[in-house]
């Protein structure tokens, strides 16, 4: 009983702390500029890779780079890194859902 109460209290304290941080969290300008430079570099790499013939691997490399880029956008530009964990969990869940739907649909088309 005591333990559970203290756990709840601990959780509550942690949550308020997160909310407090969130309110005061100011991302410095240079963080955004740095991430922007990285994103532009990844875009150029992605374009350069298509010039090399790699067969079916090309698609996976392009999608992998797109996934890395979107992680940067989500975590830094969209502040997920500094936000309540709940948002990250929900975003991952939605991405997984889309991934699973594409996977299952393709299973059907590849093996019918």
């Amino acid at each position: 009983m005591d333990i559970s109460l203290s756990l709840v209290l601990f959780d509550y304290l942690k949550l308020t702390e997160i909310m407090e941080n969130e309110k005061n969290h100011i991302v410095p300008y240079h963080t955004f500029l740095l991430v922007l430079a990285g994103l532009i570099a990844l875009t150029l790499i992605s374009v350069a890779v298509t010039k090399i013939y790699l067969g079916t691997l090309t698609v996976f490399i392009a999608l992998f780079i797109a996934a890395v880029k979107s992680t940067f956008v989500l975590r830094v530009f969209m502040h997920l890194k500094f936000e309540n964990r709940m948002f990250t969990v929900m975003v991952i869940a939605v991405m997984l859902l889309i991934g699973v739907v594409i996977f299952i649909t393709l299973l059907d088309y590849l093996f019918r």
Binding site: L36, M86, I98
Partner: protein, 202 residues
């Protein structure tokens, strides 16, 4: 009127609401990506050849323009948090400007295709076969829906500019500003996937 009332505000809730809306947007485009992957699997050769006709230069330029505009709107939130109203407005202005350039580029691209009689329902395109019809159908629909989101995003950011000038959005009440940023980043996020899937499959 000596009675002072405190207006209740729940920023976490409004941000959660925005995210929930963004999830429906992700699922909307997710559905289109499912369609894309099936059609591409069934018409690999046609998709491969049709993509050659899209301009990689335009596509890359537009990707970089959107990425820069994403960083400027993100920095404008930092500016408003630091009470730098002028810089916040300037950065939002740059974001709107870049969004308009993106649309202008899209206009030139679409104009070029339409001039060559490539558009949904075109008899010339129909002669080229099912794969090309599907590729361009998806291309026009997905980039068109994306462009519509750009327009909505620009209007949203336009409102934020007015709100900052009027003082409705301030350094301690900027959740609306953040939400407009989230919307704009989502538009960027979708383009990050549209770009390689349409332009880079050559």
């Amino acid at each position: 009127m000596s009675l002072k009332t405190e207006i209740h505000r729940d920023d976490l809730a409004s941000k959660t609401g925005m995210w929930l809306f963004l999830f429906t947007e992700m699922l909307l485009f997710g559905g289109l990506f499912v369609v894309y992957s099936v059609y591409r699997y069934r018409n690999a050769e046609a998709f491969h050849l049709a993509a050659h006709e899209l301009s990689i230069v335009f596509g890359t330029a537009n990707t970089i323009i959107l990425l820069i505009s994403s960083s400027t709107i993100a920095m404008s939130i930092t500016a408003i948090q630091k009470k730098n109203k002028t810089l916040a407005l300037l950065l939002l202005g740059i974001t709107i400007f870049l969004g308009l350039i993106f649309l202008a580029n899209k206009y030139v691209e679409w104009g070029h295709h339409i001039k060559e009689h490539i558009y949904p329902g075109s008899p010339v395109l129909a002669l080229r076969g099912q794969g090309d019809v599907l590729f361009y159908g998806l291309y026009f629909f997905m980039t068109g829906l994306h462009a519509l989101h750009i327009i909505i995003g620009l209007v949203f950011i336009g409102f934020i500019v007015v709100f900052i000038i009027r003082g409705n959005v301030t350094s301690d009440n900027f959740v609306l500003h953040e939400n407009s940023g989230l919307y704009w980043h989502l538009v960027d996020l979708i383009w990050i996937f549209l770009f390689p899937l349409f332009y880079l499959i050559t």
